[in-house]
């Protein structure tokens, strides 16, 4: 026999048990009954009707005022039943949408996938975690035949599905400009034109593009309004901002970008990030860039992979596992 047929007698039993013993066990059985009735899509107005009929059965002399008043309670509960049915429908819709987004985010990972270059003398690692399921941050490595490593990190202003859609565009645009991959300013200028032309005027993208020449150990880079990275100077033992000026992509199709250079010694680190790392909000307010430097510094003796993982885990916990923005952190460490 199914629950719906049994529920009347079951409910009556629980009530009788409770009236005899007035103990916690009966209330617990009430909670279990509730779980079951929800599982079987019994709506709250049915519960009221059930309660009324059990009362009438157990107490035939129930004052008729008390009995009739249940009609009003039932009427009020119908409204809750409305909400309750909508809840069930929203829940299945939500699950459908979640499935879709899961598939899309897998696709995105396939489309945007990049592998960490293995270059003699460099220890490279990256972590990129979306705040929602789709990532509006993007990073990409390309290793050329001369062991130059180019690295791009970008952030769409905005999150979720629209940002992800926008990022796919950047990826295709990048795929189709291999000629001047080694000139950061030219890359940004070209991408800027694509974004300006193709993307909704309300969408902007920040991007940092750098090329590491692993023979000369020279890092050249340009930035389109992107969160500045850090440079760890091992000899001096301190962190510096990796400042670079430049307009966001998509604002002005004629934007020009300046190119910067930096020599990298053994033990030095290049740290690239998205603003989701620095704008991590905790109960005590935002994380400051200094706090982040402090956090990285605590782990700087570890491998790049361990550093990015540890920093991510600690910041995730500080935010109670609710990222407010996509989070991307890249470390390039010269080890020999």
């Amino acid at each position: 026999m199914n629950f719906r047929e049994l529920m009347d007698s079951k409910y009556k039993e629980i009530i009788e048990h409770y009236l005899n013993e007035q103990d916690e066990k009966a209330l617990y059985l009430g909670q279990k009954f509730s779980r079951k009735s929800i599982e079987h899509h019994v709506s709250p107005e049915e519960i009221i009707s059930l309660h009324k009929s059990v009362m009438l059965e157990m107490e035939p002399n129930i004052p008729h005022h008390v009995l009739h008043a249940f009609d009003i309670l039932l009427e009020v509960m119908i409204g809750y039943g409305f909400a309750y049915r909508e809840h069930q429908s929203l829940r299945s819709k939500q699950q459908e949408l979640n499935n879709e987004i899961d598939i899309a985010s897998n696709m995105q990972q396939t489309l945007l996938g990049t592998s960490i270059p293995a270059v003699e003398g460099l220890d490279i690692a990256a972590v990129s975690v979306p705040a929602k399921k789709m990532n509006g941050d993007y990073y990409h490595f390309v290793q050329d035949e001369n062991d130059s490593v180019s690295v791009a990190i970008a952030d769409v202003i905005g999150k979720g599905i629209p940002a992800a859609l926008c990022m796919s565009m950047i990826k295709y645009a990048m795929d189709s400009l291999p000629e001047y991959r080694n000139e950061p300013n030219a890359v940004l200028e070209s991408l800027n034109r694509v974004v300006e032309q193709n993307v909704d005027a309300s969408m902007f993208i920040t991007m940092f593009y750098g090329v590491y020449n692993s023979h000369k150990h020279l890092f050249s880079y340009s930035s389109a309004g992107h969160e500045p990275g850090f440079f760890y100077n091992a000899h001096a033992g301190h962190f510096e901002d990796l400042d670079a000026k430049g307009l966001l992509l998509g604002v002005d199709k004629k934007a020009k970008y300046r190119q910067y250079e930096r020599r990298v010694e053994v033990g030095d680190m290049i740290i690239l990030l998205s603003d989701g790392v620095t704008e991590c909000r905790t109960e005590e307010g935002f994380i400051e860039r200094e706090d982040l430097v402090e956090l990285i510094s605590q782990h700087k003796h570890l491998t790049s992979d361990e550093i990015v993982t540890n920093v991510y885990k600690e910041l995730e916990k500080l935010q109670h596992f609710e990222l407010r923005d996509d989070f991307t952190l890249i470390i390039i460490k010269r080890i020999s």
Binding site: E45, E46, S49, D71, L74, E75, I78, G79, Y80, G81, F82, A83, R85, E86, S89, L90, K93
Partner: protein, 133 residues
């Protein structure tokens, strides 16, 4: 043999009259108290939509006898502004208020059959049926 009676909706208290008519018919056909309340709520919602958005219209209640089956049909008619985007209106969570105002998808879920036709500028015709089980 189907019979039909109607209530004109022009002010809020006509909603009560439409509810009363529907409840009487539902009771007469043998619907239980919970279903009576559900049918009445559906009528209330449809009448309220007329009162709020069309200004005036009518609610008709029809008794249905189809072979051995008995049922009640609510017909809500108005010549108000009509509904522009039916697909959107039938979406859950579209209406802004949380509960009863959840509107047509909610009414649809309370009843067994539901049909809406609407011509922008000409009016709306909604029919909802519940069968006695």
């Amino acid at each position: 043999m189907d019979s039909q009676s109607c209530v004109k909706i022009t002010n809020e208290w006509d909603i009560v009259a439409a509810r009363q008519l529907g409840r009487n018919v539902a009771k007469e056909l043998g619907f239980g108290t919970v279903d009576q309340a559900r049918i009445t709520t559906a009528i209330s919602e449809l009448a309220r939509n007329i009162y709020l958005y069309a200004g005036h219209g009518q609610i008709c209640i029809e008794k249905l006898f189809d072979g051995g089956k008995k049922g009640v049909r609510i017909i809500a008619l108005d010549d108000g502004p009509g509904i522009n985007d039916l697909r959107k209106v039938m979406e859950d969570g579209y209406s802004t208020s949380g509960g009863l105002g959840a509107g047509l998808p909610g009414v649809k879920r309370l009843m067994d059959e539901f049909n809406v036709e609407s011509v922008p500028g000409e009016g709306t015709d909604i029919r909802a049926t519940k069968w006695l089980r």
